[in-house]
Amino acid sequence: MSTLAHARTLPPRTAVAADSARARWSRRFQHGGWFVAPFFVLYGLFVVLPVVRGLYLSFTDANISGDHTGFVGLDNYREALKDDLVWDSLWHSVQFTLYVVPVIVVVALLMALIAHHTVHFKWLWRLCFFAPFLLPSAVIGNLWWWLFQPTNGMVNHVLGLDTPWLTQKSTAMLAVVVATLWWTVGFSFLLYLAALQNIPHHLYEAAELDGANAFQRMLHITVPNLRNITGLVLALQVLASLQVFDQAVVMYQFGPGPEESTRTFVQYTLEQGFTSYRVGYASAISFILFIIVAAVALGRMWLLRNREEVATR
């Protein structure tokens, strides 16, 4: 406003010239696109381009040296469908997801409730719950490898057991789940904590006035208000868990675990691409995972939209 008022006092022609120069400059350089450009450049370079190239490679018999490659059409995909190890490793990733996701949701919620309702040392609770999330996966894998040691490990020591956690099929995946829970629950905890803090306090006051006890308040106010965030946590966890890789690989020292029970889908992709050097085949099987993960994400969006439509009707 002030510039306009100022402009009116100037001789008309100069004002127009100055304005149009500035406008041109503005149009060119003050466009919002410039602010997102760095993101799009990096995203294109490191996400879109590799995905497109990976898709191309999945139709070739490319090896790691880049030589001797030819177009093989759908051969890689056909082979993958018949490859038992593809299905075994996919099942292991799904198994992991089925175990870990519900546990994380419940534990994260409980932890958030504790941190939200405690009066003293709030910061300490938050710190303790979130701190493990900051550790790199290699540290987590090694740490839990030691904790699960059969004779000297802390887990057996504390529980008074001599269970060979990492060397029998029945507990191998469970060990990865426990390590992952300890490591990543902090993230979901934080989401829940934020959501809890966003529930308007007057709802609780009103309920209390109406004579609702703590359990009823929890059931009828807290839980419904956390529905959206639970959906988000679930979706994020499922998508992340299907891609489980690093902690399991470190805990089983790049091996497939007892009776090959912890070889995950991503690990098998790595083995094909980087031990067997079959880049084309590895690209094809990683696209199979991509399709599955994308289907889960799209399925969630579809569910959400339906629910919203129902809600608005």
Binding site: N63, I64, S65, G66, P150, T151, L166, T167, P258, E259
Partner: protein, 452 residues
Amino acid sequence: MGQPGLNRRQLLAAAGGLAVAGSFGFAALGTGADALAAGAHTRVRYWNLFQGGDGANQVAMVDAFRDGHPDIAVKDSTLAWGGPYYTKLAMAAAGNRAPDLGVMHQGRIPGFAPGRLLDPWDVDLLAKYGVREADFNPVLWQRGIVDGKLYALPLDIHVQLNFYRKDVCEKAGLLGTDGRLPAAGSADEWFDILKEAKGQLKKGQQTLGLHANDQNFCWWFFVAFYGQLGGTYFDDAHTTVTFDTDKATRVLEFLRKHVTDGYVTVGEADGEAFLAGSPFTWEGNWSVPYFNGEKVEYGAQPLPPVFGTPATHAESHSFVLPHQADRGGDGNEGAYRLAAYMVTHATTWANGGHVPAYLPTFEDPAYLKLAPQSEYSRPAMDHQANEPHIWFAGSTGVLAQRVGPIVASSNLGSAAPDAAARRMRSALAQLLAMKNPMDGRTAAQELKGAGA
């Protein structure tokens, strides 16, 4: 008022400018790190995978080379061993950014596209720097040759050993008059030794570290004992699997018995348990510097010849020339000089536990004095059990990845030894039918191609 907007823009401009300048600065720093040391006019980029007890030893040798060759600037990089190392080396060679000199396990050479990812050694140039075939272990030298050209210059042999603690063995009355453990000549003798030693232990201590669930060790130990039985894997033409499931079953039963008889705690940190008082552990000789660093009296011998004929698993480190389109000139010659220095100064290298490939080392009094190297190096060198010489074999290769877990499942009891042996055989058949992704040919086709 009116001023803050301008300030914000200035701030953004300044921050942007700084970021751009900073990135140029880092770029400059990158080239700065590559710059030659004062006085040097040749740079040699050298990649290796020595992370274990042998790593420090290797760094000392490279430093000694630098002192003696001020005109050569060695830029050495130690990378994580195993699959990731070979991936990086292959991609660097494929992308024409390969180092001047690299280290590889000899067993990995056939699968590493010699000729495309690797350049051959110029034997005459090697001779100029004092490296002659006659001075080397002939088996190793021959194994480095593909299509008549030398691709792998052998540095050492590394073997699987039976490490034993002299304190526990002495108490159990197991040591001979020379203070060494006599080699067990049969499975019964070996289990008697274990039984005696176990009597000296506290409850909960394991008697033997067997790496029973580690796919690499499982496979290496299998190769050793299967070699003692004279077992083979494929015929010479690489067309048929000759794997003997009866012999394999015997080996698997032998390995499994350690677990069922309670001598092995599966999943134990074996090296550390050994240092903490466990009497035996089966380990690669690269653990020698690690164990030497602790105050433990110990000896090391090849894996016991329980099936009669002595044989222990052996692999070799070798120097290779990763492919460079414009290989030659000073950098290349510097690589030859560094490799020549390393292979001929094998006594220092042998401190790391490895058995030298350079034979004059065995006449060096300093080498002969090394303990426990003197106890195992000769017998291990003379009685090697190797993986088959085929594209999918070699340290941490596809073969170990496919077959190792089967041995582990037998060790752990989830598969019966005879069933595991049959699974190994079918895995071998699958691998034999598989095409090498590097050239699109099966092992048999590769062999024919080589002969044609």
